[in-house]
Point group: D2
Chain length 359, copies 4
């Protein structure tokens, strides 16, 4: 899968954007607290009261009071820190060929010295057999030792793990002395999806580390990296500092998570996001348009004809994932906590009109 | 020099903090624009109109329209990206033994594979003779090739470069095919200091790259990395992404610099910061207290007796730089755009009372 | 492909080994010169007269007097130095999924910070379309920039490039500003194969760097890394030293190449090696045994039944490449300059007897 | 200290060389065994009978049968592997400012991502107070964590540790959870020096890992890395392979150590080397020439006048360590197992004549 190219440009502001889930600022409640707190003096580097409170709230939701929680400003940074924290020089990551660490981080994991062993997973979900296959392929001292299993929930193509699937992967990892790391850049979307049967506490119980992304769930930026396995806890802050990820004004991250965790606001916002995607999905299906991957979350991947894309793009911005050979493209439509319902309906109506006119 | 330890704790909020220059949020004008802009849809990863405008404004101040400007969220991250951008595997950085890259980045530069060759510079300022000495010491293929000269302005100990000093270093670097990189985490404080004779345009003319820090100059976080040497420009964004420093909502950085650059707000704010430090400095000098390093900027390094520190700490938080052997410590007092003048006077008064009572 | 596991053990010395092409010492002419030269004082680190002479001889064979030639003690080391020499941090290698750098170097390339982008090439040979595909897949700043094309000749599965194929790859690389690097660990076997139409001079003309392996061509150890592209030449010795590959007694490498280059001894020895493999191949084909990959070089990959392997192993050691599902394995039979013809015939006879007895 | 520049050139072979201790081949007994063994088939990658036997012999000498022993082809490679094996990304090496890892490995340790924290040690020997000082300087999460203490015996300037000194360092390291690693490139010279009171068994008891160098003790090349601390043992071979240091024909290393360990040949050869240096030293002292560092081993560092150097260089090659300001240079004179006694006397006689003529 190629990197999507946005069709948004600064010079053409009118089309409504479904390009990604990080195209506007933050939830007003966060902004409110930032305004109120702005002139309060805080200790630096995440050693402030907001980070402490946010960490306490997360620990409670996880039912894991001994979890170590670190607030980091972006997903790629969190991924590279997590892998570097877990691995010795000869150890490697196992990920799907669609994994964010495999494709869209400009070699960030390799830049920390580690190979990403990829396995082909058509629906973006890693399964036990895939991990087994990666272990089977790498079994001599002339090869890396796969040690960390990387999964994303939701995945890079909008699919998500069931509780049973995660239980199976977790059991296999424990049995084979592998770390399980879950990239939760879109965890809120997964957890609030109608097909989800996982809780944060399940994820905390089944993984060695994971993170809860704020950037795509109502925050400004930031991921809460949760370390559960005691072996991963010492010196994490040293590594975070070394990689340039220890924010001087760390309370800005604490404030965001404090607000998002309160009354599960992050799940409420993501439920909206998923609902907006469901409107788009229903419209696409009603028009007989095929989706490249099945999704019950906030990312949809319709396969659209180029002529259709051209017409839609006059009013809406989408992401081009992959041009195919038959004058179609895999496109991405993304919704967020801020997506307006009327724009979703407007998109569906336009789509229906276009389909009708070409029938 | 050891890392300062703050005496601020969340549980004891009353003392006024002179611990650092990043203890409160951002200038209200930035917050205003963030609020107004919050629901506007933007392109991601710094490809938005705010970043474009901020870059244009900076380019104009620099009188270097062809400069490439990248907005990055922190100083350590900017330093490691800059060094990695400039150096081949066998090349090294030259820095003072007090340089931020030498001491307080948990080995961030070495983690990119490069040695930092340090030279002892008592006042924190690198001079041509120091660079010559580093080149002389590293002159066989069994040694690294020093290639990038790293300086900070203001330096880590509050001192700053004159125009002549920077001209000399720049000329030497050009002659010896060395890159000159200026860490500007506190550049605003340097430029607005009464002893300064440098302009942004001078710095742009004399260095190969430098950055303008916002974190300590009224911003929330962020540094504007300015690439001047054409050899450094290609693929900088690839490296920034790889190191996890390409913010999804990059316009948050653009907004800050747009506001800070407007009418040179960042210099106005730093002038205030320097003025507050001058009040403290006058008070310290009036009390006969020695400063470890001379400074006309927003960082002061008084050598205080431990008993005095204990008394002052009841009302004010300071940073302990280095415990000395004679029951004294090198302390750091730091002011910022948000420092209140009345607190500075209160500090001086308390100091005078304490000195009088022990006389 | 998994790493072959040898069935040789120190405790069971009788079976004749076809396990690999590095199971005995060096050609007697090298040993002779080493004995004669043993007490001569030489300059260290490859700055001696033997290295100079060997480099001169190679340069002449290449018809490239301006080539820079470095003698390095092993293949993995040469590969990692070559990639690190050529690449900036965000750049990557393109290789086949069977490439030595992709599979059997314990992540050596990733340990230098670079991703290896693999493309599936069933016969082990990379083609222009494969490179195009890797470029197509990596075309945004969220992805690495493929910059170095890695090929092996012969390949890891015994196949080899024609002149036309190498011309095509070379032209494509030049056009797309890619470095072409040829791993020549088994270059002597390729050049002396009956199907070869390439010369050393062709390879020097068509690549940016390559190496001539001695370990598998009559030497004790060592590879002659040839740098042709001027951009790769400066500071190669610095990098070689940094990676621990600048031998103190470097003339030991020079002596080997001096002897091997004289009258093209290395090609003569490899012709013998290929001839021995041809005897085995004719025998395997006569018995109707399928080869996993076609080969006219010194590595053969027969697919043998497990019962047959068990019987053969009483007299001959082979390498198990990959156990398949139908009670067969892909095995490797390897010949070298030292392989005895009578052992090849003995193998074929045993094979024929075993086949006849199971018919 | 700068890298010595040899005055030997290929074009001027006559002067006798005291430039280094690796200027001739290997002890004839090694060559004999290599010749006898040359056509024997062996398993690759150090899994052969010679390596097994050499490891057994070393284990016995160490009185540590559970030690893991790996044969690696050079000192820089061994140093970088040892450091990388021991350290997590945020951890650092402590070494003297004269340490080989600090100065003469082209940043090899930094290239594995780790900082070398240097402490000034005028005589090249690290002491407990130096380690304490390095720990004191690095005590916040904004700094690296020093974790591995690197010492050389003999040191880079010819000095050596007493048993009491090594006991003290070892006890301090154990108490502070630091690894102690001893670079033994010249360990044979140390152990056979008249002032030595250490045994191999002492060193094995007091360090976490160390190596015995062959290159400078009668071998062709190679170091035997001894891992004593169980935490360092797993996966060392993976790392050795990754760094390109797992020799295909590994038995060539085994053969060397087998011969050198037999009847302590390596100590006998080094005793000769030290004795030759003692002749030179006595001559230098008799002439009133000052040595930059005291040495009872095979390296001497006389401070010679430039005119004297010029005269001596007509007959003898020396190493220029450092040009000083008063028309003198620190030179290095190095002896080896192969140094001829008559050449030492000839050097002393020439020296005496020259001194007499200038008096």
């Amino acid at each position: 899968m190629s990197t999507p190219r946005t069709t948004t440009t600064a010079a053409k502001p009118k089309p409504y954007s479904f390009v990604n889930d990080y195209s506007v600022g933050m939830h007003p409640k966060i902004l409110d607290l930032m305004v109120r707190d702005n002139m309060t003096q805080h200790a630096g580097y995440g050693l402030d009261s907001h980070c402490a409170e946010a960490a306490r709230m997360i620990g409670e939701l996880l039912e894991q009071p001994s979890a170590d929680i670190h607030f980091i400003s972006g997903g790629t940074q969190t991924n590279l820190i997590a892998c570097s924290l877990a691995l010795r020089p000869w150890e490697a990551v196992i990920a799907t060929q669609l994994g964010h660490v495999s494709t869209h981080e400009t070699g960030a994991i390799e830049a920390t010295g580690h190979k990403v062993v990829t396995v082909p997973c058509p629906d973006g979900k890693l399964r036990v057999a895939d991990i087994e296959s990666a272990l089977h392929e790498n079994r001599s001292e002339h090869m890396v030792i796969p040690k960390l299993v990387y999964i994303s929930n939701t995945t890079e193509v909008g699919t998500q793990y069931t509780k049973q699937e995660l239980e199976d992967i977790s059991a296999f990892c424990k049995e084979h002395d592998l770390y399980l790391f879950l990239d939760g850049a879109r965890l809120a979307s997964a957890l609030s999806s109608p097909v989800n049967d996982l809780t944060l506490a399940d994820i905390a119980r089944l993984t060695d580390m994971f993170y809860i992304g704020a950037t795509k769930a109502g925050g400004m930026f930031g991921e809460a990296l949760v370390l559960l396995n005691d072996a991963l806890k010492p010196n994490a802050r040293h590594l975070i500092k070394q990689r340039g990820a220890l924010m001087a004004k760390g309370w800005l991250l604490g404030i965001q998570f404090e607000v998002l965790m309160k009354d599960n606001l992050f799940l409420e916002l993501s439920a909206h996001s998923n609902k907006m995607a469901a409107i788009l999905k229903a419209g696409l299906e009603a028009c007989g348009i095929r989706l490249a991957w099945p999704s019950a979350s906030n990312q949809l991947f319709p396969i659209l004809e180029n002529t259709m894309i051209e017409e839609l793009s006059k009013d809406f911005d989408m992401f081009t994932v992959e041009p195919l050979k038959d004058n179609t493209c895999i496109m991405r439509l993304c919704t967020s906590w801020a997506t307006e319902e009327k724009e979703c309906h407007r998109f569906v109506e336009l789509l229906k009109r276009l389909v009708a006119s070409t029938a």
